[in-house]
Each structure stands twice: as C-alpha cells, then as structure tokens.
Symmetry: C2
Subunit: 815 residues, 2 copies
C-alpha cells in the first residue's frame, strides 16, 4: 500500500494521505539553520546544534505521535483546520504534502478555501520562511481568522525538558508590531534571540501558551482559536509561544499571500540593547525585510532549487528503471547531504541531545557527499583528523560546536582510525587535490602536536599493525564498527553504557571485520605511499597487509564463511561451533570487499553462505541465528530482541558491503537484487509494513527472527545512505573516481541492455552510455571516449569544462 | 476562588472541580515504592529512584498539561468517561477527588453509573493498589466496557525520553491471564520486572500502545476504547503498555468491585526464569494474592490510615483557628514526610532525573520529620555525614541509591557543613539518643577515614573557622544557602551551570548568612561540647563565635539591616549603597535568629527593615529592589526575571527564618502574620491566583516586582515545609524539644486567648493548654505539670508512657 507517490520531475515525494504509518519527515536548511518537518507540519527548528540552540519545542514519542510544530490554524465559521491536517486533524476536502529538496509544501482545501504553505530555509539565512497563501475558491465571501503558532524552546533542549523548577520562571518575550520575539536568557548570558514575524499588520497575538491553548486543551483545540479571539498576552515565565492573529476577508476567487519568518539573531555584547531591557532588533528587521514580498520569497526558492539542481547534476543516471533513477538521481544523494548536515544528531529517532559526531560515522558518511561538496568534505576531514591521538587511535566522537574529542566517551574503538584512509582517499580521488595530504593537522586538537595529514594516515595504518592479537588479527578494543559487539565489556549493571563502561583488560578479543578493513584500506595506503614515492614504507606496509591476509585465511575462516571475531577468552565468534549467531555479515562484507582468499574460493563461498543464511526478502540480516539470551561475553548485541537492530535485524548500513563484495565477485544480479531489497523506492508499495519514509533509507529493517519482519525503524540519518550510494553508483553502475581518471567498471544484472550516466568530474562532464549486448554481469570490452577507442576502462581527465561522450560496451572478455 | 475544600475529619483535601489552575497532586507510598497522582489521575510510579527505576511513563510540560497516568476508561454505550475526568475530559454528572494521606480517591458519576477509584501503596508492599468500584445507580441494565491503561517507562526515565533509536526496539511484555507483565531488559541486565493485574478474568487486553491509542489518537480517545474492542496485542518494541479489558454487566443497583495491582518485582539471578524466555512470576503472584479481595484491600487501607494517625499524633494542636489546626495537624507534617520520602527528587516540577540529595537540603528537611520517624532520621544523618570530607567540607549532593557524594557537582558550598549541627542536635533533642554522637562515621564514604559523629560536628564547626575572609566573615565558596548568589562564578556561557562551573580563585567573597548560621549553630556546638565535658573545646569555640558576632556588628551592619555579603572584590552586597538588591532576606533571618546585636537594637531594626522593604501581602521577598539586569559578579540570582525565584521572589524557604527571628524579638503578631501569608490553607480562597495546591507549601510565590504577584510555583518538595514546621510548632506555638525536656516558649498574637497542644515526647504524652489572659505575645509566667507548679518553662522528661496534663499561663514577666 502507498500513501503517496514520487514526482520525479519536481524531485518531490507527494504524500496524499496524512495518516502515514509513521510521521514522514523532511529537512529544511543546508548551512547553519535547520528545521525538521513532518508530513503533517510537526517538527522543530534549531541553529547549528539541536541540543544547545533549539528554537522551538518538540515532544518526542508523544501521544498522539508528532504533536507540536509551527502551525497555522484557519478558522472558517465554526470549522478550524490546518493546511497540513494536524494538529486539528479536521478532515480536509483535499490534502497534499510535497517533500522536496530542503523544502516542504502543504496544500489543504476545506469548504472552498485552499491554503498552500511552503516552508524552507533560504540559502545564507538563519531563518525558516513560511509562505502561506489562502484562496477563496467558493462562491461566497469568506471572513477567515488565521492563527499562527510556534512554541519556543528555552534554547537548551535537554534542560528544557528536565529543569522545570527554573524554566517555568524564566521565559521572556517582546512584542513589536507583527514581530514576536523570544528573548529568554538574553538578559544574561545569551547573545541570541529568536523571532516569528509576518509581513502584514496583525489584529492581535498571544505569547503565553497557557492562555493560547488553555491548560486543558491541546494543540488540536486551542481555546483562543476555538473562541476566535486572541488574548494579546505577554508571557512571563511558564511557556512562551508566538501566535499571530490575522483577519482575512476574501471575496470569491480572491487570494491572500503571507510570509512568515522564524529567525535566529546573534548580537555582539555591545549591540545587545536598543534601550534598557529592550533588545536590539536591527538584524531581525533586516532579515525580515529580505522576505517581505512574495516575489522575494519565490526568488529565494528558485535559488534553492538551483542549488540542488547543481549538487545533484554531478551524477545522473538514466536506466529505464524509474525506481533506480529516482534513488540515484535524487533521494540517495539528498539523504547523504542531510546526513552530512545533521551529523546524525537530529531526526525523529535521534532526539538531538544525545550524541556528538562519530569518528567512524563521519568518515564513512563522507563517501556519500564528497562528489557534491568536496570543499566541505575537506574541512570535515581536517576536523576529524584533528581529534586523532598521536598513537593513531581516535576519540570515538567529537563535538561539532567545539570540534574537540569527546572525553566522556573516549576512544579504543579499534576500527576507527582506518576509516580515515577511506575518507581521505575518496576525497583525493574525487578532487585530485593532493595538497590535502600536506596540510598540517594536530593530534588531540593540540597544534603543538601536528604532522601533515599523510602522517595521520600512517599512524592510522600503524595503529592496527601495533594492535594485533594472538592470531595476528586486530584487537577489537571496545568494539569495531558494530558498537554492540562488546567483547571486553562484561556489563551487569543496566545503567552502564556498553560503549563507555571501563573494559576488562587482559583479553585477546580480535576482529575479523577490522582485519578485512585493514587489508582493504591498507592497500589504499600502500597505493598512496607509492604515489608519494615512499617505496620503503609501501613495502613494509605490504608485508603487514600480506600477513593479515594470511592470518585471516589461517585463523579467520570457519569452513563456509569468515569468522566474526575471537572473544576475550580466544573463543570463536560467528562460527558453526557457536550455538547462536553462527554467522555475521560484517566480516563477510569486509573480507569479500578486500577479496581475501578469492583465489581459493573463500569469497564466493562466504557470499553463498550470506545468501543462504542471512539474506531475506527484506534485506540481509546481521547475524544468524539471532541471540535469544544475553551473552555477557558479547555485550549489547544480545540485549536486543531477536530480529531487531544489531541482533539479527537487517542493519542496512552493512548490506551494501555485501553488494560491493558481490560486484567484486562479479555477481551483478545478486548485487543489484540485494540493493533493491532495502532501497526505499522499491519498498514503497509495502509502505504499510515498511512504515518509514519510502524516499530515504532506514537504519534498520526487522529481520526474519523478528515479530514483524520487514518493518523499518530509524530512518534518515544512517551510514546506509553513504554506503548504498557507493554500492549503486561506484560498484553496480560502476562509475568510480580514481586518482588519474574515472574508472568504468559496472557490475549489473545480465538482463540490463543499456543505461547512461552523466558524471561531472574534475571540471568536465562525461555523458557515458553503457551497453550490454551480450547480457553479461561485468567486463568492459570497449571504451570510446569522444569516439576515440581507449585502452582499459579508465576515462582520462580532461579538465576542460567541456562535455565528453563516452560509450562503453560490456561483454565476455576475449583473453 | 476555591476548587474544593478541606475535610479535616477525614484528613483530606476534596477537589470538586477537575479544572484546577494547575494539576494538584498527591503522593502514594512511604517506603520503597512511590506514585505521584494528580487530581485528574495523571502521574507515574517508581521504585526507589525516579530516574533509574521508573515504572510508568510520564510527559512533563505536555500540552494539554498532565497527560498520562494510570487510567480507567468506562464505555457506556457511546459515552466514554473516566472516574477522574481525564483523559477523556468527558463532562461528569459529578466529580470528586479526595487527596488523603498517601492515598487518593476519585469519584465520578455519569449517566447513572458511579465509579469510585481508590489508589494507594500498601505498607510493606512494592505496588500501587487501585480499588475500583462501579455501581449502576440507574434504573436500567448497564453493559459497560472497562479498559485500564498504564504506559510502561523503559525503566531509565532519562534514556526513555532520549534514546529512541534503541528504545523503540527493546520493549518486551508477557501476558498471563489477567496479569500483564513488562519485562524490557529483564533478559539481560535487569533483575526486575513490573506487572499490572486485576482480580478478575479479563475479556481481552492490549500491550501495544500504537494499537491501543492509534497513531493519531491521544489518551483522550484511544481507538480501541472508542471501538469498544481490544486488539489483544503483544507488544514487540515501540511502546509497551498494559490495558485490561473487562465487560461489566450491572443490573440496576448492582455494584462491581475490582482490584488492580501495579507492582514491581526483583528476582535473584538464579530465580529469574520459569522456563526459557518466560519470567518467574512467583513473587508477582504472591503480591497479587495479598490483594485479591476487597476485604484485604480495605484492611491495608486501614493499616495505612493507622500508620498516619500514629505519625501525626506526635503533635496536635487545637487553636480554634481551623486553618492553623489543619496546617499543623495534617498538611505541614504530611508535606514534611513526603519531602523526606522523595528526597526532593520527583514532583510536577522536579522531573525525577535531575538531582541527588542535597547535603544542606537533607539536613534542613530533617527538622520537619525527626519527631515522626526518629529512627529514619538517624539513618539519614549517618548517610549524610558519611559524605563529608575530612576537612569538614562536604559534597553538595549525594546519590540516594549509592549513598555516595556526587563528584560531578563537588563541594565548596560553604554553608553546607554547619547544617549538620542543626540536624544532629535536633535529633538528640527529640530522642535523647546521645549515642548517635559516638557512632563511627566515615569521611567521603571511606571507612578507613572515620571518626565518631561528634568529630564530624567539630570539623563542620572548624571548617568555617578555617575559612574566613578579610572581614573575619565566612568565605562563601560557590554559594551559601542561596545557590543562585554565585559570587565567585563570573559565567558568560549559557550552557554552564552556575553551581558546578569552576569558580574564580583569589577572591574574598564572604557571606553574612553563613556568619549568622555559624553563630547560631556554633552556640549549639558549644552546648554539646559542654555537655560532653569538653570545656576547652567549648571555650575555644566560644571565642570564635564571639569573634564572629563582633565581625558581623563591625563589618556586617549596613545601618538599617544586615549586609548580605561581600563580593569577590570585597564590595558590599545588599547595602543601601547598591543600585539594586539593597537588602536581602537571608542575613536578616539568620542574624536575627542568632540574635546578633540584639542588645544594640540591630535585630529589631533589621526586622523592621524587612517589614518595610521586603514584606508583601503574599510573603516576604528575597531581595529588594529586584535585579533588572545581569550582574556577572552575582551570578544566577540576577538571571531570573524580576520578582521570580531567587530574584525578589517570595522564596518561601527563608520566610520562616524571619518568623523565628520575630519570635526571638518577641513579636508574636508579626511572626504569625508572616507565617499565614505563605501558609497554603490561608491562601485557599485565592487559589485562582496562587495556582498551586492549597494544602502544601510552594517553593516560591511571585514577588511584588513580578508580572503576577502572588502566583506560586514549585509546590511540594521544598525546605519551606520543614522550616515552617519549625516556625509554627517550635517558635510560634512554642513547644520545643530540648535535651532535658520540652521547653514551652510560645510567641503568639496578642489576641489569642488559649490553645492546646498534645505532644508525644520521649515515651510520654503531654496535653498542654496555653492560656494568655493578659493578651501578651510571649512570656511563660506559670507552668503546671500534672497540677504541680514547675519552675521555668521546661516540662521534665517522664518517659513513663503516661499522659500528663500541662497548663501554661502567659503574661507580662514580673521581674
């Protein structure tokens, strides 16, 4: 069942039924000001940091769900309704929500009145702009009453929901014409305030929530709206809000357009006040003036549209499969950018107060957006690397505001350092900007301890070399990529975090996943060394990589698949010898991506085992069988109910590793099939089961051991987006940036006949047509660049700002 | 305006209008299991710790307010209603909520059906018991459908509202007949589960919230209730709930009584399971069987009633002023016990996750309940003292579960240590148990560092001696009792806590309040020394106290009142020289209680200044004039809007200090008048303004500089209760326990003619009648004990388990 449809031309998902199986959301903003908005208008706004600078209040996991947002109430006689259906939930004559790229548009029709609300954050502006048009399509005169509503959060989202003894006394506002200001704590330590404005005279307002809604009414039925009369309150403590009141008289056919601005302003200490106790509003007024006409708003919307058009144009496919095209051309790329913007901090599952930026997360996320915004990718790489320790290890998280490592969580997740090699090489391959390796980058943010970035990569590589266990495999530390496989933790206290609790020492837990990662990115490191002429270093590294390959083959192979790990006591994890969780996905993914033991058939065997034991119609589960009891030696993974999250859920992040492994083995049919199973556009028609948005990946889909297999959770902010982007664009469609050109190496279903990709790369545009006359999975047999036969499968770099036609023929290699 | 009335006989406050100006709540439980319940049935339950063991979910500051609780829905035809009005808010034909001592009773009548719901926690049991009777008072047969509802919290109340990525996958339940179990995380690290039972067969149930309410319906209109049919769901993740469904057919006049039990069970590791994956329910069943008949429930209710009767009977007054009597005999004592039970952690303003137990708070709270439960007071004293440091200073807070000092907050609040002298001497005076001073008590919970408790008191006293500033006054440290006067903080970052941020060093900020406290409790310490024969120590201490008195007189007197402090730079705080906040209440209270400069008339002058500058009809404000801007040298106090909280609010905690000071000056009229201004029973008839419960003190009432003077906030858990208890019972009514007997020293309004107090003290009961024939404020001129003329004003200790008649005549002293 579907709740809407894709409008690919408009690059929108169009929701036609407000009662989606879960709130389906979108993100506004691309720089410093952000908003989350659901398909019924719920959500909140923040400046830079969803914890410390939250503008509007939002209640997670509320009943009913998704209550609270920036709302507009239209009172038409005795009927009160909203353009987005909620919060009144008044049945509309027609409803539509269009989630586009960084904007959302709500159209509601009721009793002959049509309202259209468009919400976005203009580029370069710290504000949400809401364009609201109300049109009288009836045959009678309409006297409408319009109430806006935003509930202010007292800035710090965490204390806002904890410290009522203080909060309920501190709220302060100012009212100045049509602009309602929120200035709590501005008097003292804050240099910022918020405002909510409308570009028209108002006939009243309220700034005190209790008066507006009434103590016993909800947002669905605020007493002032029901009464049709604002109380013109000035909030003092309790819960300040901003609600404008406008009377709108419309003749038949008449339309009124309004622009609301919800903005954030910072003032320098010396510019804080206009007069005693009165805030300096100059910047707010300036911001408001930027959008005081519909024309200005439409121009800003057009800018935003062009911004996205340009970002997405770097990679566009035409395959004949509209689902594939919309994922690749629009939604997967969009999701990667949202993940970048949010640093995974704020979604309808991440409450915006819980976490900093992950070292490994951020490095992996980068492969999803480096082609779109390489300059910001570079900045992020430097930020991340700056938190690395001198021994090559890393803080597991850092704070986006301070850009410093998070000491509370610490380090010792032994996979972390290696991901830096992935992100840096991806950046150079995309941009050709070798200079990044020569940038001076501190350790632990201490400039006195700095080397060039290449030095960081050396230390990343050598950290693993120096942290091997008894089988010559990498020691796992707190955990590797799977945060929940805690082999040194042994926790009995439910209030301990598995990730931060002091680990037991003296154990020998080793990770096959890090082993695969080391081989894969170790080889990338060796390539770098060679290119930089560091042959001795390259040789030494090669010896370590070769040794690791041998260790994996000798100690990491279970007969039909790769082991997952050795535990604290040196016992096998992910072996047929185990009672539960005999096979895990991560080591199969990474060892096949690294092609360890390929010649001996290990990769093929491992991939077959994945297919047999882990693959389901909804994706590939993380382990099998699921844990049915707590294994203290393994930690958090066994705390989840069977089939959920890391305990045999389809943890989508790692599915593309297998896809990529399959492409390396040449199985294009399986690779594409796996990708489709979790790709949201392909799951749109089972939306009632999938539950999450059909336009973005979810972190997890319930696995076969679950109560409800196929039900997804935790949509939007997941490494799934970046890795699936890599799987589909680099490995299946096969357009891979490399240092010296664009490698064309598709691995596709045999049934595909032809597809084309437009790729902007190093200041040129390549229109690539791939033909598959023989129905193969893989193998470039002919490459024509601008009509010229080219050896191998790499398009050279032109850098001429021109457009180049590329024709690729796949077929059986004639060796 | 009133929303109910006091039923003094039943010891209940009876709310007759569900729409109170704020939820008016009550507390259930007295030992380890607790519940908060509002007058419309909202609230939640927890075991021991409101943060780490919360049983049911509650959403603070929701819209509408107070949404969520343990609810019962009655569906009678198309009408759905609740005994407590909420959540359906269906208008009732009659509504009544009776908040009694540790129980609440809701009576609702609708369409001829009467329901009565009584909620309490039986003594010795870790469960809430809900007795629900439904009676058909109509003339027709009724086929009713009853749905219960409790929404489970996933134990840790903080992560429950933050970590949705995990939480929404972990929920687990079991259904066994009429018992619905919540076992999230029991599989792994928890040894506890919860259950919700009913003593009758059910005709269905739901344990999945989304099915029960529907994603778009609230608790006011759950879809299964509206449909009149449960879905018999077993929750897997998302949000587990417990909802029973019972069909109740009642003939005219027929009544059905049901008993619901919401309980908590811990199992030993080896007893966790009945069979694989099935929890061991033996203890739950045993608990349920204790209340499987109404007779058993009524017996438990009677036990609870007797428990309270006994507790309250220690002190009972008959004054002829019913408001005074109900405050003293019922509500003030009750509130003191609730504050003890909650350790100030959980109210409708304290979210239950924010704080440990305060060192100073707990010592002060003790003076409110030591007469009721001296054995538990002793335990608490030892707990508190065990967190003291060797130098006499103290952790500012400690954790009730671990009983260890809270390192995150640390110490350096320089008033803290002295409060220990107050609590210990109060305990000994009440009990005569001198042995407490010889108990071995560790420092910083390290048993290797232990002295006797008396040693702790010495160190408390000497800490101040060793921490004097340039004027010979005590250095303030982070703050004294007024947490918000932060003279060494200088914070500019809004995300810093004024209480925990590193303080500036090198300053000389001194506190006049600690000076008064030192003199007052220093004298108590000297008394103890003398009694223990430590004359040299007594003499040395006397020198320090005398010196402090001189310092106060020399450097602490501003001309008409006592200064509040010297700031970091040695500038006066609370002086007529200041622009704002020229006078503060705390130093007036403590210096007049300590009678510093009484002979010179300083006390009288200071009290007159309080009367003139700080006293208002709603109580005494903290400072005047209010701060209108941030004073970085003063810290948090100046962050509050004028008239609120510590910035010139009526911060009720310190009002009784002035009352007591007035009694020491002999001004009984003013003392009683001040007490009445904040005593809730006297404010009942302005409930629409006061807003908070009229049966308990609030922490704060908005002051004269506020937007709405007289509006209270932060009811229930405040030191106000203990200090007002001391003021009214010890100082105004004048019955004061002392080491060698009961001192009778009333200080009352001149107009009072007579009153009597029954006081149990040291194993005897004293029926004391106080007569005031001459209309004086103060002065015992005649004391008859059992008809025997007794010199002075102290009733000797009989300890004979007998009843003794005491007659006291007040009058002008004939010197």
């Amino acid at each position: 069942m579907q709740y809407g449809y894709f409008d690919d031309e408009a690059r929108e998902y169009v929701i036609t039924e407000p009662k989606t199986p879960f709130p389906w959301i979108n993100y506004l903003g691309n720089e410093e000001f952000f908003g989350l908005v659901s398909n019924t208008g719920g959500g909140y706004s923040f400046y830079k940091d969803a914890k410390f600078r939250r503008l509007t209040r939002y209640r997670y996991n509320n009943v009913p769900i998704d209550t609270g947002g920036r709302y507009y109430y239209i009172k038409d006689g005795d009927t009160v309704w909203n353009p987005g259906w909620k919060p009144t939930q008044t049945e509309l004559d027609s409803y539509e929500c269009r989630h586009g790229l960084s904007y959302s548009k709500f159209t509601g029709v009721k009793n002959g009145v049509k309202s259209e609300l468009t919400c976005f954050v203009p580029l370069g502006v710290n504000a949400e702009v809401h364009k609201l048009s109300i049109e009288n399509n009836s045959t009678v005169q309409k006297s409408l009453k319009l109430f806006s509503l935003a509930e202010w959060c007292l800035w710090n989202a965490q204390t806002d929901m904890e410290n009522f003894q203080r909060n309920l006394s501190t709220g302060e506002v100012e009212i100045d014409g049509s602009v309602l200001y929120h200035k709590t704590e501005y008097k003292e330590r804050r240099n910022h305030y918020a405002f909510f404005s409308v570009n028209a005279p108002i006939q009243g307002c309220d700034t005190d929530r209790e008066t507006f809604t009434g103590l016993y009414n909800g947002f669905d039925a605020p007493q002032t709206v029901l009464a049709g009369a604002p109380q013109n309150t000035e909030a003092h403590g309790w819960s300040p809000i901003a609600s404008h009141y406008l009377e709108i008289d419309l003749a038949p056919g008449e339309k009124r357009e309004l622009v609301f601005v919800l903005g954030y302003v910072e003032n320098a200490e010396e510019d804080k006040w206009e007069s005693k106790g009165v805030i300096n509003k100059a910047k707010a007024k300036e911001m408001i003036s930027l959008f005081d006409t519909v024309g200005k708003v439409d121009a800003a919307l057009a800018d935003l549209s062009n911004y996205w058009k340009k970002l997405l144009s770097v990679y566009q496919v035409e395959s004949g499969d509209e689902k594939l095209d919309r994922m690749v051309n629009i939604w997967n790329q969009y999701q990667c950018m949202v993940t970048f913007n949010m640093s995974r901090s704020a979604s309808f599952f991440e409450s915006g107060i819980g976490r900093g930026m992950g070292f490994r997360d951020s490095n992996q996320d980068l492969i999803g957006f480096v082609h779109q915004i390489p300059e910001r990718a570079k900045e992020r790489i430097i930020d991340i690397a700056s938190t690395q320790f001198e021994d090559g290890s890393a803080y597991h998280q850092y704070q986006p505001l301070t850009k410093r490592g998070n000491a509370e969580i610490g380090g010792n997740f032994n996979d972390d350092p290696l991901w830096l090699i992935l992100s840096v090489t991806a950046y150079i391959k995309e941009t050709g900007d070798w200079s990044i390796l020569d940038e001076s980058v501190p350790y632990d943010n201490d400039e006195s301890k700095a080397t060039d970035l290449f030095g960081h990569l050396s230390r990343s590589f050598n950290f693993t070399v120096n942290t091997l266990g008894p089988h010559g495999l990498p020691l796992i530390g707190r955990a590797d990529w799977n945060d929940c496989l805690n082999l040194n933790c042994f926790s009995k206290d439910p209030n301990e975090s598995f990730q931060t609790t002091e680990n037991a020492s003296g154990g020998q837990a080793e990770s096959l996943m890090i082993a695969g990662e080391f081989v894969l990115y170790g080889r990338e490191y060796i390539r770098l060394c060679k290119i930089r002429g560091l042959d001795a270093e390259a040789e030494a590294a090669q010896i370590h990589v070769d040794a690791m390959v041998e260790s994996v083959k000798t100690h990491g192979w279970d007969g039909d698949w790769f082991l997952r790990a050795y535990d604290f006591y040196g016992k096998k994890v992910g072996s047929h010898e185990n009672e539960e969780a005999q096979i895990f996905i991560e080591s199969q993914g990474f060892c096949t991506m690294a092609e360890i033991g390929k010649e001996e058939g290990l990769c093929e065997k491992a991939l077959d085992s994945v297919n047999e034991r882990l693959a389901t119609e909804h994706g590939i589960v993380l382990n099998n069988p699921a844990f049915t009891k707590y294994v203290i030696e393994y930690g958090e993974i066994s705390t989840y109910p069977p089939g959920y999250k890391e305990n045999a859920g389809i943890f989508c992040h790692n599915n593309p590793w297998v896809c990529i492994g399959e492409t390396k083995a040449g199985n294009g049919d399986r690779a594409f099939d796996y990708w489709k199973r979790i790709a949201p556009a392909y799951r749109e028609d089972i939306s009632e089961l999938h539950k999450m948005e059909p336009y973005v990946y979810s972190q997890m889909i319930a696995g076969k051991d679950a109560f409800k297999p196929g039900e997804a959770k935790n949509s939007w902010l997941t490494g799934t987006a970046a890795w699936n982007w890599a799987a589909i664009s680099h490995y299946i469609l096969g357009i891979q940036p490399d240092y010296d050109g664009l490698v064309i190496d598709p691995c596709i279903p045999k049934a595909w006949k032809q597809y084309s990709v437009t790729r902007r790369f190093r200041d040129a545009e390549y229109c690539i047509t791939i033909k598959n006359p023989d129905g193969v999975n893989k193998g470039v047999v002919l490459l024509l660049v601008d009509g010229v036969l080219t050896k191998g499968n790499m398009i050279p770099i032109f850098g001429d700002h021109g457009v180049h036609e590329v024709e690729v023929i796949l077929g059986e290699a004639h060796v």
